[in-house]
Amino acid sequence: MTFTREKDFGTPEKHGETVSLTIDGQQVSVPAGTSIMRAAAMVDTAIPKLCATDSLESFGSCRMCLVEIEGRKGYPASCTTPVSPDMVVRTETEKLRKLRRGVMELYISDHPLDCLTCSANGDCELQDVAGSVGLRDVRFGYEGASHLEGCKDESNPYFTFDPAKCIVCSRCVRACDEVQGTLALTVDGRGFASKISASQDEGFLASECVSCGACVQACPTSALIENTVIEKGTPERAVVTTCAYCGVGCTFRAEMRGEDLVRMVPWKQGKANHGHSCVKGRFAWGYAQHRDRVLNPMVRASVDEPWREVSWDEAIAHVASEFRRIQNAYGTRAIGGVTSSRCTNEETFLVQKLIRQGFGNNNVDTCARVCHSPTGYGLKTTFGTSAGTQDFDSVEQADVVLVIGANPTDGHPVFGSRLKKRLRQGAKLIVIDPRRIDLVRSPHVEAGYHLPLRPGTNVALLTAMAHVIVTEGLVDEAYVRERCDGEAYGEWAAFVSEPARSPEAIEDLIGVPAADVRAAARLYATGGGKSGGRGAIYYGLGVTEHSQGSSTVMAIANLAMATGNVGKPGTGVNPLRGQNNVQGSCDMGSFPHELPGYRHVSDSATRALFEADWGTALDAEPGLRINNMLDAATDGTFKGIFIQGEDILQSDPNTTHVAAGLAAMECVVVQDLFLNETANYAHVFLPGSTFLEKDGTFTNAERRIQRVRKVMEPKNGYADWEVVQLVANAMGLGWTYTHPSQVMDEIARLTPTFAGVNYDVLEQRGSVQWPMNAAAPEGTPTMHIDHFVRGKGLFVVTDYVPTDERTGPRFPLLLTTGRILSQYNVGAQTRRTPNEAWHAEDRLEIHPHDAENRGIRDGDWVSLRSRAGETSLRALITDRVAPGVVYTTFHHPDTQANVITTDFSDWATNCPEYKVTAVQVAPSNGPSEWQKSYRAQAEQSRRIEPAEPAE
């Protein structure tokens, strides 16, 4: 693709009856409600415009888009005038040209004429419009009142605001309002003094701006422009690819000059993001070129030794021989691997294939173990498939939204913006979260109910909501009768109806007033109080990362089934998946009990399919989960591991236990971009490639499979799938893939839900949602439409079983953990970008009451101690958290929040209980002894011995 801007239709798409009209003699048929400007653009008639863009509602301020309409007086703005039947429009007349030129003269009289040296030269709408209206002179002179020269705001690390270049079209202000929903910008002053202002005339960095880039994208001039464009110039080609951060799966145009990435611009046709982005995907890609990237393979005999750079051949041969040696010495099941939810479907498929075909066992796991494994278990049990039920567009039809254990504006910001847009349109909101997340109250958004429950009591609260729904006759009985297992429903309804499950009975346990629980249950069950209203549930790791994570997922599914809220747009059970490809890595058979497509390894028919294709017998017994691998390692029965793109030492619970497990192994192979924390215990390091350096696909939280496209050569020499193939072939597997599309063909051949997926289809359609096969040739935006995948929906009785992690005199507070907008998970990528400007360290949020009791002031160093360990960080005093609850993020290895978290885990899946840890907080002088020794060990472990010069 050569560089062209995406086509801009000027105003948003409308849906309605078809209306026919004539524009410049051309017959046009468009949906009712469409603007004349958009109708004209649809037949390639570009009406000049400055304040209009199709991501924003029409505004009608620039007066450039005037047209003539037969039978109407004057010159209406085409952006604000909707089409009507048999309308006859003229877009170019002498009068119109004169009017437009006159307006343009006014704009230019107050605009610096430094086009040749302007950073937007060649990519400026003002420049284009001046050309298209035939501006040849400015009668008012060129001096204007360029009074805003020298007022540049360069505080944001990613873009610059130059008010001298601003034409006050307010596209940036409206983008912040309508698209992002932060409402951080305004037009300050009047007339010539008008100036775009962030918050209360603060710099962009210090303001409420979340740096999503919507304003930069909307700006028609260089008033708001990416710093990379200022530095490098305008791009010359664009390639559409998919973001490698969260599970929303935004698609971007990677705009390039040669092999140099100039900027990432959200793709308007992307079905997950519709042209929006967040600070991470839009701007925080600099890690891909960071100096910390390790580009040469490295080997060492012991983790006490420095790394030794070696050739790829030597590294790969070493890995293969070590793994075979270990298997010969300790048995077939003594080694295993971890797939990466950051890598592509094809790479993940190959890693599990390497383990199943090459290692001969099922010891494969993935980071979903520590995030959404309960989603897999819970939704498969109740609905029959391990995935969310909707697409993101569905939220536009929801009348009430229940958000539980998720913080979309930080964790899934682009979906968060769409949710806020729907809420501004009037949908009701219920938030169940111990912490007052931003959604609870933000500009023009306020939750009807915020239920700040005690961490660890999700199941009790959801069961109480079910109690209200059943005992108050709010069940959709016709739906349940037709769609669900009647016997299971009867058992469940009887259970939840018991007085002991009522909101009043558990009020003290959960810490939420019973009246609020009742009111929230009624609001959800009645579709926001609207006849035929639709209720949608969105949840995150605050649901899954508990000792009853799987039960909570099933309790959510029970609520949705009881109220008929599954199987149609605007409803559903929607897990907000964490990593970019965590859905895909699970789909691809990354769990130790399942082959690709969620089929149990004990199923002989499925195994036979793979055995025939791969030419080898497969193990019928489940393999080890990550935590079981570590247990087995400390027991001496598990000796080697291949870890692709995951930093288990930082991300998994109880760091001391993880370190002991890794230290007990004889061959730890880490494939990553950087020497991560896990690599401190590795014997082989294989350099990884970034998402910009390879082809493949990611599958987002809505089951949408999207292409990842290579825009530059891998700096390390190989794409990750090629490295896996090198290892496989060194172990004698004889793989012959030359492109990831061949891997997708194999996935489709072996996985019924992917049967219709291939790269040609993805090229044609942009993306598809699985299942996609003969039964669903167009893919499946909404699941369970006529019936549940499992047949009848299964209600499951979910009894509340308290966690064994208890508060007491020594550990009186409950710690819960989460993420922040600007950083991502363990921070390996975002900490290597200017995103550090927003969050340079993890802080401990503590309620003023708890802080005062302990003599802690805002910003003080405090020690955070649990039964598992101790760390220290600085306090942030806030009433976002309730008394008795403290909160921190886990983005920085210096903090190592997982030193504190315990070994307790979900009963069904062993997903760690990150969200509940009993702790004590006390003033401290700085880093703990553990932190100091960890730093020293890490430093020691990262030494690299220079390669010997070739002879």
């Binding site: 099941r333 039960s551 009990h593 149990h600 247990d631 400390t634 236990h657 009963w907």
Partner: protein, 76 residues
């Protein structure tokens, strides 16, 4: 920190507690099925070995589960 044996017994007990609402017999059956589906052969073998190991003492319901796992292994 728990030993691996203690952890396996703890895990089985935790699964049992979450199925307890079904009644003891059904909970033991469901827990056995869960272990057969999700535990690797080494974990199952270790659990069975604990049946003849007096230390640590297994709770009765966990013992009942491990006995069924053992019986299943024998019949496989």
């Amino acid at each position: 920190m728990m030993s691996t044996g203690e952890r396996l017994a703890y895990m089985a007990g935790q699964i049992l507690r979450n199925f307890a609402v079904k009644g003891q017999e059904a909970a033991i059956a469901a827990t056995t099925d869960h272990i057969l589906q999700f535990w690797d052969p080494g974990m199952k073998a270790r659990a069975c070995a604990m049946l003849s190991d007096p230390d640590p003492a297994l709770p009765d319901d966990v013992r009942a589960v491990f006995l069924r796992v053992q019986a299943n292994a024998a019949s496989a």
